[in-house]
Symmetry: C2
């Protein structure tokens, strides 16, 4: 297996957590999203992945983008340990939490979006920071309310084992801290993030531990 990744990409970080939790050790290929305008836009990478994003997985004949699709694929091909609960309601809840991060927060804070704000709209740093702070606060606030009140929340986002939802939460909390958001406003999420960080698999997936960290 080959994983195209960038150490600081939230989406790649999700997949790295899932792979470490499942004991998978792919060949790591770094795609630098910033250097020289972004290696993801280079013709050779675009020929591989027309979406020009990371993560991207190659597993034999399978070539696959989109972090949640990759993790679901790993879940089906390497079921143990499971990253989704067994019951349909639980699986739905985990996927819903994951998507609340992957579809509602992360697209608005990611590099291609903030680059548009800077380069095409000419927004100063202050307005770009306010943009990110807004979407992170809206998204994490809703998630805090939901996880804080639902009895299915346990030691982790769902019950007492890490799931796909935690694979998404940890990188989102990392990003929030990086953008200067005070995560103490989200005590349930901060507690779960801290519990996740105790897992060696989660620690091993951290941006600073990747070969392309700088």
């Amino acid at each position: 297996m080959i994983l195209y990744s960038y150490f600081r990409s939230s989406a790649a970080y999700r997949v790295r957590i899932a792979m470490h939790l499942k004991g998978l050790a792919p060949e790591y290929r770094a795609v630098h999203l910033v250097k020289d305008g972004g290696e993801q836009h280079a013709p050779a990478y675009r020929a591989l992945n027309p979406q020009g994003r990371v993560p991207y997985l190659i597993d034999g004949q399978v070539q696959l983008g989109q972090s949640l699709a990759i993790i679901e694929y790993l879940e089906e091909t390497h079921p143990l340990p499971p990253l989704l609960p067994r019951d349909a309601a639980g699986r739905a809840r985990v996927r819903s939490i994951a998507l609340a991060i992957a579809a509602d927060i992360q697209p608005l804070q990611n590099l291609s979006t903030t680059r548009y704000l800077e380069e095409r709209l000419g927004l100063p740093q202050e307005q770009r920071d306010a943009w990110i702070a807004h979407w992170v606060a809206v998204g994490l606030g809703a998630l805090e309310t939901q996880l804080g009140r639902e009895p299915a929340t346990g030691r982790y986002c769902h019950g007492d084992l890490p799931t796909l939802a935690d694979c998404c939460l940890v990188p989102q909390m990392f990003a929030a801290r990086r953008f200067g958001v005070d995560v103490a406003n989200y005590p349930t999420l901060a507690r779960i993030d801290a519990v996740c960080q105790e897992l060696p698999a989660v620690a091993a997936a951290a941006p600073a531990r990747q070969p392309d960290a700088s």
Copy 2:
């Protein structure tokens, strides 16, 4: 089953297509995303769904947001007709196409995002239109390249039966046309969209056919 929906919401439209394809007829509850600043922000709706978005599904004890999580839940609880292929590689491909729309395009064109551009950043209509056109062009362009070259593309996004990917493509093409994007630039996607529109289930899910259409 109760589905909270808004006729023009891309995400609710996805779920409506999936439900019609599976022959499910939920009670339809309209949440007007524009009127009076948006009914999704009203305390009663926020109490139900802290994310303040549609779609939202109630099925017995299960309460669930996020369109792709809802469709996966329907797939597990009402497996026929299937909206995912049987093989792991095919399932992964379908999910990847769905997410390329749901996580990479739609969050940037949706109402909460464009409202921020207008109300907080004071961008004129022309710059808001250019923003939407940019993200739709980037996203659909990548998808056109992918679907155009992959042999797994068939009559529909994946093979000759409609899947979760088509549930996402149809609303995205509807949104693109609504925003004035020339979909003829994406011949593979436009062809698949036209084939989908021939299905009575897809036609029945169209915004104009919903009780809250205006």
